[in-house]
Subunit: 150 residues, 2 copies
């Protein structure tokens, strides 16, 4: 990439053909096994779940602590990536909305954001709550929540 | 994927060889062209920037509005992906921390999260602030911020 100077020409360096690869660092282990049973958001009755992280990343996890609030990024591997509009919460009484105005998993890059609390740490396994992602969902990243309010 | 029943066996379905591809939906157009000049976080003096979105996604953007708070996901394409520990903010006086306890761009999947306000919409271009990502950074997703506080 060779960004232009101020004034920008981002589109000249943008190609819709570019791909980057994401590499799961682990997977969700959850009693939720069926998409139909999964809450739409973590704060809607989602259970505790384990993040089973590849031990190759243990050193990267070493400063995580029980009680900490973190954002977990997942890859929602059952999502559709070609959807432009959707009815929020699949409610037939609601009008369609552009997907960037929704948290639908169906979107060009189906990355899930989940704000959770770490409730237990067992080696490279982290128990968190609440997590609405289903069993087997790939985990991409763990980030601390920033800011005084969050 | 064929998740096991309750009790889970996420690791049995986890392979560190799996890859998924992310497909940029656009790119950042910003006066920030040099990583060395970029603030560490958006609230540390980051400027306004344009998100130049591929018109193929215009319908997905149609319900975004000026004044709305959204989370922008980017692909930090200059990051290192093999880093396990880092000194926060590159401060030599601070101890190393596991990268999942930091917001360092250097991480296995260098996905940036940026909470911004939409300040202008011009076709498939969105002006947002504040944004610490540099010019040319690929944009992956735009999501509404959830919850009463955020």
């Amino acid at each position: 990439m060779d960004p232009a100077g101020a004034g920008g020409s981002a589109m000249s360096s943008f190609s819709s053909e570019i791909r980057y690869d994401v590499r799961p660092i682990g997977a969700v282990e959850s009693p939720l096994v069926d998409l139909a049973d999964a809450p739409r958001q973590g704060d809607e009755g989602a259970p505790e779940a384990w993040l089973v992280i590849d031990p190759a990343w243990s050193l990267a996890m070493r400063d995580l602590e029980v009680g900490q609030h973190v954002v977990v990024l997942t890859w929602l591997d059952r999502a559709r990536r070609d959807v432009l509009v959707t009815r929020p919460r699949d409610d037939p009484n609601r009008a369609e909305e552009g997907i960037f105005s929704t948290r639908s998993p169906d979107r060009p890059n189906p990355i899930g954001l989940h704000e959770v609390t770490i409730v237990e740490i067992d080696g490279s396994r982290l128990k968190v709550r609440p997590l609405e992602a289903i069993d087997g969902t790939p985990v991409l990243d763990i980030k601390p929540v920033l800011g005084p309010e969050r």
